[in-house]
């Protein structure tokens, strides 16, 4: 099997789900698939999905790594608020754009390292460890913005959220670029392999000399970094930092995206690409419901319903049902293999 067909087989369930959802929405809302060019910038619902997906897609990249280590990061929604508040404060204080970006990213990484200390050094369960910053984080953000929605007027920074380059909105560059860089970092170095080994069996990996702590730290730090980028996009988009609502519940969407992407919450083998398709599925549902003209009070219910369907279709039970013949053949082969092995 070549590399390409193997990849395709891994991503097939997610791609099919995305295609079906886009297909259904385009039936309900004509013109959904149209893309037009206005003032040298691409417009259309599909482009809108890609732009709106930026925050959750960024969070998904980090969340995938954290989940691969058999952890979870609940704090990233709050980290969005913190980094947004930091960026907004610095912008209104007149700092230059590179300083604002560098400091915000740094704050995100520090938040991730804090989680890393709790999880890797103090051995606190990830769900509890990151819950601490999830709760405290919005408080910190409020302290930074001094309890108000801090608005600013800086067109260069705002461009991170609403600008475009060569016709393509900047947020798309940001999340695709980040995902590419981190994806390459994982697969072109041994980082991804070692993270998977740690997630599957931390003790065995440690006994083989894998520095599990360092890997946990890097996963949470990358998660914090991704949240910081998302925080800047969100803040730039609304030209203000809202400590209470920026990134609210987004960590849950990110977890959902990872799960829809087929990475197990038990850690181990991960695919950033599949998680990103998961994020696009979730954003398509959000945008789709909006353009379909359903009363907004139905949105959350419809979203939950569609996700149940997607997850059911991906469940091992259904997969076995559809691939029944394949499954028996494979297990037959396996039995044969073990017999041979024990002979």
């Amino acid at each position: 099997m070549t590399w390409f067909t193997r990849r395709l087989r891994r991503l097939a369930p997610q791609l099919v789900a995305l295609a079906i959802i886009l297909g259904i929405i385009s039936l309900i809302a004509p013109g959904f698939l149209t893309i037009s060019v206005q003032n040298g910038r691409l417009y259309g619902s599909l482009i809108d999905i890609l732009v709106r997906a930026a925050p959750v897609a960024l969070l998904t990249v980090g969340m995938t790594l954290v989940i691969a280590t058999r952890g979870i990061d609940l704090s990233i929604g709050a980290v969005i608020a913190i980094c947004g508040a930091v960026a907004a404060t610095l912008i209104s204080d007149g700092y230059s754009l590179p300083v604002v970006i560098a400091v915000s990213l740094g704050v995100g990484i520090v938040c991730g390292l804090w989680n890393g200390i709790l999880v890797a050094v103090l051995d606190i369960q990830p769900i509890i460890a990151t819950l601490i910053l999830m709760v405290a984080g919005r408080g910190i953000a409020q302290l930074i913005t001094e309890g108000v929605i801090l608005t600013f007027n800086d067109d260069t920074f705002a461009a991170l959220g609403s600008g475009s380059l060569a016709g393509i909105p900047i947020p798309i560059y940001l999340w695709v670029g980040t995902a590419l860089i981190i994806g390459l970092l994982m697969r072109r170095t041994a980082l991804g392999f070692l993270i998977e080994a740690t997630g599957i069996n931390r003790r065995a990996a440690s006994l083989a000399g894998v520095r599990a702590r360092f890997l946990l730290f890097s996963a949470y730090a990358i998660s914090g970094l991704c949240a910081a980028i998302a925080g800047m996009i969100v803040t730039a988009d609304i030209r203000g930092a809202d400590a209470n609502n920026a990134g609210l519940w987004l960590e849950l969407d990110a977890i959902l995206a990872v799960v829809v992407g087929g990475t197990s919450l038990n850690g181990g083998r991960f695919s950033i690409t599949a998680s990103l398709i998961g994020a696009l599925i979730i954003q398509s549902i959000n945008t789709g419901i909006l353009v379909s003209g359903f009363p907004p009070e139905f949105n959350l219910i419809i979203k939950a319903g569609i996700i149940i369907v997607v997850l059911t279709l991906q469940s091992p039970a259904i997969m076995t049902l559809f691939g029944f013949i394949k499954a028996t053949r494979r297990s037959g082969k396996l039995n044969h293999g073990t017999k041979e092995a024990t002979r």
Partner: protein
């Protein structure tokens, strides 16, 4: 007043898991008013047998009689109702409830549909007084020591079941005084006619309390004897599977030329850790195989953990080629070119979901660091060459390692270390639970490796294996290095005597 039937009798019990036999044709007989010790090394089948008797597992073959009637406990509750109660090593009580609540959990005395606390309290008090415990039954269980909790658990089990009491390693976390207290309770229960099965690896305690022992080995019954007619030496031979009189020196011991192998390259001096292994000296020369023998719980694996830095030594020094080094973590050990194949292959060895190839290159990749990845071509080459040279089957490097048999997983873990070209490889029970073919291959490989100049430390409960491959054998007993055998002394006979020797002096 002897009953016509044994209290509990099991005949021809057999059980296999996934086609691997764990218990084969085992008989076990427990009389009323008897304390019966069940002995054997790890993997001998003790806990499988106990779990069958107490209804945790279903047997594949065999019959169980309780007081002469055939019974078939299908689950723990059924076994309890029949009269078979169990107390596990980790006492299965609830710490956040009171003593009385624990004693009567699930069967609280009721009055008008409400729990009758007063009756419960009174009955708890009378119950515990029988065991010489005069404690506040309204206090939380967590406020009492493990020893007290154990007696409370026993009280509950006996009150609930009453005929057979099974104790799994009851003394593992008790100090000498607490053990004495526990034994007083057990003797009283024996007087009352309860049949007690006790699993333990402390031979002194077996001689102190048991009336009879049954020894299992590799899932088979070795024998069942009255303790009064069983000298300690014979018992150890039974456990390790060697009849003393039948031992022939199968190992043409190396002439006493070990010192000619050159100066020791790795030296541990006064190396030890409190509560784990008493300080020991260990010199390892290049190309030498040092065996470590001892019974279960004697500190075999703990020695390996110290050598490989999994446990941090709190005394002594480690020296490599004359340089003092600190081995405070597996990473540090690996940096000094050590390797370690753990006994618990599933939890400590394999990374199940990863492929055979990934598992083979894991240690090397960890050593190189994440920034210098092993290319996939390199990985393929390494994996294929070791799959071929170690004959790992099926020869499919992409298959997740969890689908391989135990022997092939073990070979893959060996390959993981061989890839790193270690100077010292520590093998903890390298042949446990693997089939004969792989067994022989692994022994052959050990010889080949040391011929190439690698040093090995081999821990094994298979004495013949040790005498066959080791140049020297360190004997452990009671977490101490008690003897070192080499040359002509190095026989299975000698090892058994060394293990028993200390035991006897200590008992005296």
């Amino acid at each position: 007043m002897s009953a016509p039937h044994a209290l509990l009798e099991a005949r021809g019990i057999g059980k296999s898991f996934f086609g691997i036999s764990a218990l084969e044709d085992v008989d076990f007989t427990l009389q009323q008013g008897e304390i019966h010790a069940l002995l054997g090394e790890n993997g001998a089948g003790k806990s499988t047998l106990i779990k069958i008797l107490t209804g945790v597992y279903r047997r594949d073959r065999g019959t169980i009689y309780l007081e002469g009637n055939e019974v078939s406990p299908d689950d723990v509750a059924a076994a309890q109702a029949l009269g078979i109660g169990t107390v596990y090593q980790e006492v299965n009580l609830l710490e956040n409830l009171t003593v009385a609540e624990n004693l009567f959990l699930g069967r609280q005395p009721r009055r008008f549909g409400m729990i009758d606390r007063r009756t419960m309290r009174e009955r708890s008090r009378t119950l515990l007084e029988r065991y010489g415990l005069n404690i506040d039954v309204d206090a939380l269980l967590s406020s009492y020591s493990v020893a007290f909790r154990q007696i409370i658990a026993i009280a509950r089990a006996v009150d609930l079941s009453g005929k057979v009491l099974v104790l799994d390693e009851p003394t593992a976390s008790l100090d000498a005084n607490e053990v004495k207290g526990l034994f007083t309770v057990l003797r009283q229960l024996r007087e009352d006619g309860v049949g007690i099965v006790i699993i333990t690896h402390f031979l002194d305690q077996v001689y102190e309390i048991a009336d009879r022992v049954t020894v299992l080995r590799n899932g088979r019954l070795v024998g069942s004897r009255a303790i009064s007619e069983l000298p300690r030496l014979d018992l150890i031979s039974m456990m390790l599977g060697r009849e003393l009189q039948h031992i022939t020196r199968d190992h043409q011991a190396e002439p006493e030329t070990i010192d000619d192998r050159g100066a020791p390259s790795i030296q541990f001096q006064n190396y030890g850790k409190k509560g784990s292994v008493a300080p020991f000296d260990l010199d390892i020369r290049p190309g030498e195989v040092v065996g470590i023998a001892g019974l279960l719980g004697s500190g075999r694996s703990e020695t390996a953990f110290l050598l490989f830095g999994i446990d941090r030594a709190d005394s002594g020094t480690a020296t490599i080629d004359g340089q003092q080094v600190s081995i405070a973590s597996p990473e540090a050990a690996i940096a000094n070119r050590f390797g370690f194949c753990p006994e618990e292959r599933k939890t400590d060895g394999i990374v199940g979901d990863l492929s055979v190839a990934d598992n083979i290159v894991l240690a090397l990749q960890a050593q190189r660091g994440w920034m210098r990845p092993i290319s996939s071509a390199q990985k393929r080459e390494l994996a294929d060459s070791f799959i071929k040279s170690l004959d790992i089957r099926p020869a499919d490097r992409e298959r997740p390692i969890k689908f391989l048999s135990g022997g092939n997983q073990q070979k893959a873990i060996l390959a993981r270390w061989l890839v790193t070209e270690p100077r010292l490889l520590i093998l903890d029970e390298p042949t446990r639970g693997i089939d004969i073919g792989a067994h022989a291959e692994i022994l052959k490989m050990i010889e080949r490796l040391c011929a190439e100049g690698m040093s090995l430390v081999v821990i094994s409960s298979e004495l013949e294996e040790l005498t066959a491959v080791a140049h020297r054998v360190i004997v452990l007993s009671d977490r101490r290095h008690v003897a070192e055998l080499s040359g002509r002394q190095l026989t299975t006979d000698g090892i058994i005597r060394a293990i028993a020797g200390t035991g006897e002096t200590e008992a005296a």
